[in-house]
Symmetry: C2
Subunit: 153 residues, 2 copies
DNA sequence: CCCATCAGTTGTCCTAAGCAAAGATTGCCC
DNA sequence: GGGCAATCTTTGCTTAGGACAACTGATGGG
């Protein structure tokens, strides 16, 4: 009974999640050419939090610093970020998004927004409210239970 | 106004999706040792659809056959699947999950179910119904819309 | 019987990601 | 002020995922 409802919820959640990942992947493929999903996530961190030291980026993405270094290399090669040292502590390297990088993120977000809009356009106002409330409730509950992790993508 | 609501919905959807991915990753790390997420997805395909020819598995996962071949190699090394030829067409290779593989998937699913249960335990029955409906509505709407897009293009 | 086609595998390339060790810099303590 | 530990980043090494192309074997239609 209740377990049946829970199983349905799990299925629905997995389905919703899969749909979103697919949307993001499509937006990325269409707007970002050769930028991969992890690289895009790095760019989103820089857009939402401003210039960041490499270690903080690694923490945000929950990856090893070495991984962040090399992802930075590739994004730098593509002209989407720059690196700069800091005078008050010359150990640190800050990653800064370029105009080109920012525009890329904006294109992808705009496209994703459009796709989601298209999806929910077919819903009635009541249904739309239900979807929004349901997703918000779930995200909030998950955030509290698991203890507030980081953002980006 | 309405765009604000849509933006909130996008954020909520992204948050919910992130929470789910994190849950799956945790369940995998706890119960599946050295099995990666793509490998786990392959096992799930075999559990839900039974023995499959390699090409069909590749299609299900949306990867190149060569990728499926090598993922199969690794899962075989770990004793989680077996491969068998077929007499009526000796070109095809079928992947079959082993008891060990099946048990692994069951452990992960059980654990994921438990985590989601824990999350929604704090919700009232009304809220739980809202979450389930919202997720289902969204997943269904996404499925229809993307289906149309694919057939249209 | 031959040849086009199909199914999988193998070789090669790139990205992602982790760990460990090395380098460089800083801060602190004596 | 000199040495030393801690901090930040990079580099080397390994495994895995993923794509594409070339190749091998098997099938099946002319």
């Amino acid at each position: 009974m209740l377990s049946t409802r829970r199983a349905e919820l799990v299925d629905a959640a997995v389905g919703a999640s899969r749909a979103l990942v697919a949307i993001t992947a499509r937006s990325l493929a269409r707007d970002a050419g050769d930028v991969t999903l992890p690289q895009y996530r790095l760019l989103v961190v820089l857009v939402t939090r401003g210039p960041q030291r490499l270690g903080d980026v690694a923490d945000s993405l929950d990856v090893n610093p070495s991984t962040a270094t090399r992802m930075g290399d590739r994004l730098h090669r593509k002209g989407l970020i720059t690196r700069r040292g800091r005078d008050d502590d010359r150990r640190v390297v800050e990653l800064v998004i370029t105009d080109e990088g920012r525009q890329l993120v904006e294109r992808v977000m705009e496209h994703r927004r459009a796709e989601i809009t298209e999806i929910v356009d077919d819903l009635s106002p009541d249904e739309l409210a239900t979807v929004a409330q349901g997703l918000q409730l779930f995200a909030a509950a998950a955030g509290e239970t698991t203890g507030e992790l980081e953002s980006a993508s």
